[in-house]
Symmetry: C2
Subunit: 151 residues, 2 copies
């Protein structure tokens, strides 16, 4: 049997998530892609950076915007290992990200298909296309393992 490979950006996002775990951070990774090219990759770092906003998505978006020298990431896609929270969904919308691909759903902290459902609000100024599920088992297992070891 041959397992269908994950798209390269999701593979990278999951590798970033694993890197976070190795640093004692909650394992979540994110990658920003423009026209097929990875322009930023990041993982969760609130502890090491002393920054409660340093989620993988926010760090990847900030790095991508800095790399492009512009505030908005029109035409860019974000690949992330977990359903974004309200803060990150808001950042995605402000950044005008075109498409969001996330691996695992997050019923506890997610704000795309759960909770605040940021993109579904009539006041949401920019709604990306959203695709979920690719790599979800691996993303969820990284998180389970991380919290299992800490209990």
């Amino acid at each position: 049997m041959t397992r269908w490979p994950l798209p390269e950006p999701m593979r990278m996002a999951l590798d970033e998530a694993a890197r976070a775990a190795g640093e004692g951070e909650v394992p979540i990774g994110a990658v920003v892609v423009k026209q097929g090219k990875v322009i930023a990759a990041a993982h969760n770092q609130p502890r090491s950076l002393c920054d409660p906003t340093a989620h993988a998505e926010v760090l990847a978006i900030r790095a991508a915007a800095a790399a492009l020298g512009q505030e908005r990431l029109e035409g860019c896609d974000l690949w992330v290992s977990l359903e974004p929270c309200a803060m990150c969904a808001g950042a995605i919308s402000h950044a005008r990200i075109a498409r969001v691909y996330y691996a695992a759903s997050d019923p506890k902290g997610g704000a795309v298909e759960h909770g605040a459902r940021v993109f579904e609000q009539p006041t949401c100024l920019h709604r990306p296309e959203v695709y979920s599920g690719m790599g979800e088992a691996e993303a969820a297992e990284l998180l389970r393992e991380f919290f299992r070891e800490r209990r």
Copy 2:
């Protein structure tokens, strides 16, 4: 007649907002206070910093966390000139801000009493106390003037 003065942190948040306008940024300012002492002040800077996450609240929270050398701002209050958006409300919750004081409501982009109502979600892990209205006329006029000049 003597007009009752604004609390000092709100006065500072409004002055930060005016500073943003002077730099061509949407006039919103924020201040973080701990035990009566201002530990961070910031204004909206997404354009000048090429960073879509550079809202006043996020910048003030990041600066406060860096100043304290910790990821969480327990016992800290945030004073801001406008109702926070979903991104900023999420950041406030992640930072464990104790109290939020905001001047003007924002029916278009706010996510505290409008839209995503981030703090009211059952999945919201930390809800600050929220007080609004102080300085709202001045905060709203700064915004009106800014957009009037740009039309």
